[in-house]
Structures are given as C-alpha cells and as structure tokens.
C-alpha cells in the first residue's frame, strides 16, 4: 500500500461515495423486492377474485355436487345441475394425452438437436420448430376441425372426428416447441467435461446421453414439461374447436369432450350476470387455478428432490 497517505483529506470523500453507493444498492434491492411482491400480489388478487365471484354459487350448490357429479346443465328448466367432474376429467384427459405425445417427442427431438445433429441441422431445425409456437391457437383449432377431424373420423369411425384425441394431438403440437426448446437449452448446457468423463470410461454415446447428459439436464427438462403442461391445461380456443364440446363424462379418447376452459369460454357470454350459472363459471376457473397450482407445486417438490439427490449446485 505504498504511496497511500492515511491522513489524506480525500479519505473523507471516499466515505461519502461509499454512503451513496450503499444507498443505491439498497434502492435497487428494494426495487426488485417490490417487483417480486407485485407478482405475488397479482396472483393473490386473481385468486381472491375467482373465489369471491365463485362464492355465491359455491354457497348455493352443495360442495359434493361440484366435484362428485358428472352432470353439467346449469340452464336446465327442470333441475339445474353443476357437476364439473366430467369437465375436470376431460381437461386432464386431453392435457395428459397431449403430454404423452409431446414429452417423448419433445425430449427426443431436443436430445437429437443438442447432442447428435451436426451444427448445420441444428441451426435449421430449431428455429423451424420454434416457429410452431407462434401459430395462433385458432389456426391450430381450424386445422383440427377441417383436416385432423375428418382423418380421425375415417380412421377410427369416430363420428365427426372432433373428440379427445383430436384435442390431444393439437395440444401436443402446441406444447412441442416449448418442451423441445427449453429441454434443448438444458441439454446443451450440460458441461462437455461430464460427457467426456463418461465417454472416457468406455460408455457409448447412447449410454452417455441416457445416464449422464439427460439426468444432468433433468431440472430443465422437468421445467419444460411443466411449461408444456401449463400451455395444454390452459389452452382454450383449440380444444373448443376440435374436441366436440359434449359436457359429458368421456369413456375413451374417441368421445367428444368439453374442457373446463372451453366451458367458460362458451358459456360466459350467454349467462345472466349475477346468476348462479354466471358464478358457477368462476368456480370452474377457481378449480382450474387450483389444478395448475398443484401441478406447479408438485413439479417444484420433484425438482427440489432431484437437486438434493444430485447434490449442491
């Protein structure tokens, strides 16, 4: 520290600058905290809005009927019924069907692009698949209505072909780019050293991919699946157009189904504001919210476990 004079009058100036910097750091910190709190606040506001709007209907109709009954007929002149079980099952069926198609395909595609394909192929294929994400949902639904529907009708003798499997296929197409793209990023970011270690032990590329690369990328892959699931559960227009919209309990993927989102979209414009029917649609939204919340929570817990098992980092 030669050349520094402790009694230098400038040392007082140094003190002032540090105070200013501390203030600035604090201000930035507060700003980020405020942003985080705002996001939580919005979430709580939506949650409480759904609950208070749904409350009149929840109060009127016994809780058992909501979740146990498969009968959804709020406008019946004889007896109004508010069972949303069929809608919940339809939503889960279409979403899970979509994931069954999209997850293996998406991860395989990601692994191919990240680990196998030459750079040239990667540069072409990845953007092309990502463009899929930009197709408006109404266009995808239209495709289901006029192309996929007739095809399915012919292949399975399934009415007009507007049914659960149609919706699943379309949602899979819509979830695929997300799953593929996010998984690919995760796989690419696995350090080359880990792959080298595996290869140097005499592992084949396949063994390295399955036992080292994919496990190391697992948190990103799970995140991609959750994003895809979120897209599938929440998607409205596509399933509304392609699923046949029969609000009854589906017995197979070839039955026409109506999801929770489609029900809200179809009926909200036609109800009397303030009626039990009106409020019951908020109850559906409330349950939908709980479902996506549960999906996120479970995936978070899984991720935590995975990270713990993999250790640190």
């Amino acid at each position: 520290m030669e050349g520094v004079n402790v009694d230098n009058p400038q040392s007082a100036g140094i003190g002032r600058v540090r105070a200013w910097r501390r203030f600035r750091e604090k201000a930035i910190e507060t700003f980020f905290l405020a942003n985080g709190l705002f996001a939580v606040l919005v979430l709580l506001a939506i949650f409480s809005m759904l609950f208070t709007e749904g409350w009149p209907a929840l109060k009127r109709v016994p809780f058992g009927e909501w979740v146990m009954s498969t009968e959804w007929d709020p406008t019946s002149p004889v007896r109004e019924s508010y069972g949303i079980l069929a809608l919940i099952v339809s939503t889960l069926m279409v979403s899970i069907g979509a994931l069954i198609l999209a997850v293996p395909l998406g991860i395989a595609c990601a692994a191919y692009i990240a680990d196998v394909a030459p750079a040239r192929v990667r540069e072409i294929v990845k953007p092309v698949i990502e463009i899929l994400a930009g197709i408006p949902s109404v266009v995808v639904g239209f495709f289901g209505l006029v192309v996929l529907g007739p095809l399915l009708a012919k292949a399975f003798h399934a009415g007009n072909g507007l049914n659960g499997v149609n919706g699943s296929i379309l949602l899979a197409v819509m979830a695929l780019p997300t799953i593929m793209s996010v998984s690919e990023d995760a796989i690419v970011s696995v350090p080359q050293e880990l792959k080298n270690a595996s290869l140097a032990l005499g592992a084949t590329r396949w063994q390295t991919l399955m036992r080292v690369t994919l496990p190391a990328a697992l948190s990103g892959i799970v995140a991609s699946v959750m994003l895809g699931m979120g897209r599938a559960i929440g998607e409205t227009m596509t399933v509304l157009m392609a699923c046949g919209n029969a609000p009854a309990m589906p017995h197979s993927f070839l039955d026409p189904v109506r999801t929770m989102t489609a029900t809200i979209a179809i009926e909200l414009g036609e109800t009397v504001q303030g009626s039990t029917h009106f409020h019951s649609l908020f109850v559906i939204a409330f349950f939908l919210f709980l479902m996506t919340f549960a999906v996120n929570l479970v995936s978070d817990i899984i991720l935590q476990r995975v990270r713990k098992r993999m250790g640190g980092a």
Binding site: N196, A197, S198, A200, L201, G202, R211, R309, G311
Partner: protein, 256 residues
C-alpha cells in the same frame, strides 16, 4: 530407448494429428513401457495433450480431426477400421485436468463404469467400488458417506474420486491430463504419491506443466515442442543430461 528389460505396452509409429489443415503433431514415434510412469512435458500448445488424447481416441469427438500413422496397443492399431472405441477406452482410462465427477453420489460415480459395462451384481459392484476407492487413497475419507453427492467433496478428493472411477473398470493404461494443475500443494502431493502407488498395477502416462512434478513422479519423460517429439528418455537423463539443446533450454527455464 529406455530400459529395454521392461515390456512395451504402447507403441506409436509416425503418428501425426491434424485439426483441419493444421498439423498439431508431426510423426511421433514412441514406445511406452508397462508399469512405469511416462511424463509428457513441453510448453503450452506443443501438442502433448493432443497426443495424450489420441491414445484413447478422445479426439474423435472433435469434428474435422484426422490422424496418420499408427498407435499400437497390444499389437493392434487402435485407429484400425474394426477397432471398438468403447472397448479401447475401457482399456485406456483417462483422468482430466479439471476434476469432473458426475452429479451423483460418490458410490454411483465409481460404479458408473461397471454398470455401463453390464455389471449387474450389486455385491460385485460394491466390492469393486471399495477396491477402487482404496486404490485411489480415498476410501478412509469417504467410506461413511458413499451415498452423499460427489460434488460435496473437496477439489483434491474429487480428483482422486475421478481416479477411482477410472480404475474401477480395470484399465491397462491410465492417461492423466495435468491431473494436479488445479490443486493446492498438499492435494498435489497426495496425487503424486498415488501415482507412485498406481504404477505397480497400471501403466501411467501423465501430461504436466510442472517440471518438478515430472521429475518427481515419472520414470521416463518425453519433451514435446511445436508438435514434435524432441527427446524421449529416462527421466533422470532428461533432467540431468539431455541430448538436445532445446530440451536443456526448456528444463532450465530458458523458454516455455
């Protein structure tokens, strides 16, 4: 050539290596002897690491590379058409400069090589894991926490874990690419003692930047410069009475 009474493990003849149009190694011919430590020294970019990685064909991963000449292991050219690279790498293990344990438990790290080669019997796996960890002088430090993540170990422990992992599949040769360059002096000393022990059972080839390390651990030393093998002889001779002027200049610190 060094000590002719020992058996020859690995032979290279006129081996050249190209990254695209750039020739990184020129016509290397060398006989590596069994159960000895052979050190590769030379300034950065001299090709010593490239040569090391050629011996288990890890350079295959890099696109646009090409070789000429021969590398014979047990009389078989490892660059021959019908050579199984997977089997080659099982016989010629490798320890990297930067320790690279898998994000798995300590046990699973060492067991990895056994499992990919089809060992299903849990007690056989457990036994080999213990043997390997003992051989890498790590067993006493980790025996009570084999199920803990390998990433919780210190840098030196991680590197010895990587050595144990390489030993688990019973290689004939262990290649070490500056295995101690990222470690503190104490951890380095442990690795060096380990290398001394390991040569009883394995043939070791080590790349090092540290000339004292080469002098301490190796029996034979090869000096590389600009992609050529300048001199290869008994370590004692290289460090006390080198034939080539360049070797002398390098080991006395006149360049490098």
């Amino acid at each position: 050539m060094p000590n002719p009474t020992n058996h020859i493990e690995l032979v290279t003849r006129d081996f050249s290596f190209y990254y695209g149009d750039f020739r990184a190694l020129t016509s290397i011919s060398m006989d590596v002897e069994r159960n000895r430590v052979t050190a590769f020294i030379g300034p950065s970019g001299c090709g010593k690491s490239t040569f090391l990685r050629s011996l288990n064909r890890m350079n295959d991963i890099i696109p646009g590379t090409r070789v000429e000449g021969k590398v014979l292991l047990g009389g078989v050219d490892i660059y021959g058409k019908d050579v199984d690279v997977v089997d080659l790498r099982r016989k010629v293990g490798m320890v990297f400069q930067k320790s690279n344990p898998f994000p798995k438990s300590i046990f699973d790290n060492v067991a990895y090589g056994l499992r990919i080669h089809g060992e299903r019997n849990p007690s056989a796996v457990a036994q080999r894991v213990e043997e390997s960890l003992r051989a890498a002088a790590l067993w006493n430090e980790v025996k009570d926490r084999l199920d803990k993540s390998a990433l919780d170990l210190s840098g030196g422990q991680q590197q010895r874990l990587c050595i144990a992992r390489a030993l688990a599949v019973k290689p004939e040769i262990v290649l070490m690419d500056e295995p101690a360059s990222a470690l503190d002096p104490l951890a380095t000393q442990k690795i060096e003692e380990l290398i001394f022990e390991l040569k009883k059972e394995y043939t070791i080839i080590i790349v090092t930047h540290n000339m004292q390390q080469a002098a301490r651990v190796s029996d034979a030393t090869a000096f590389f410069y600009l992609g050529e093998l300048v001199e290869f002889d008994e370590t004692k001779k290289i460090f006390t009475n080198p034939k080539e002027k360049k070797t002398e200049d390098y080991i006395t610190g006149r360049f490098g």
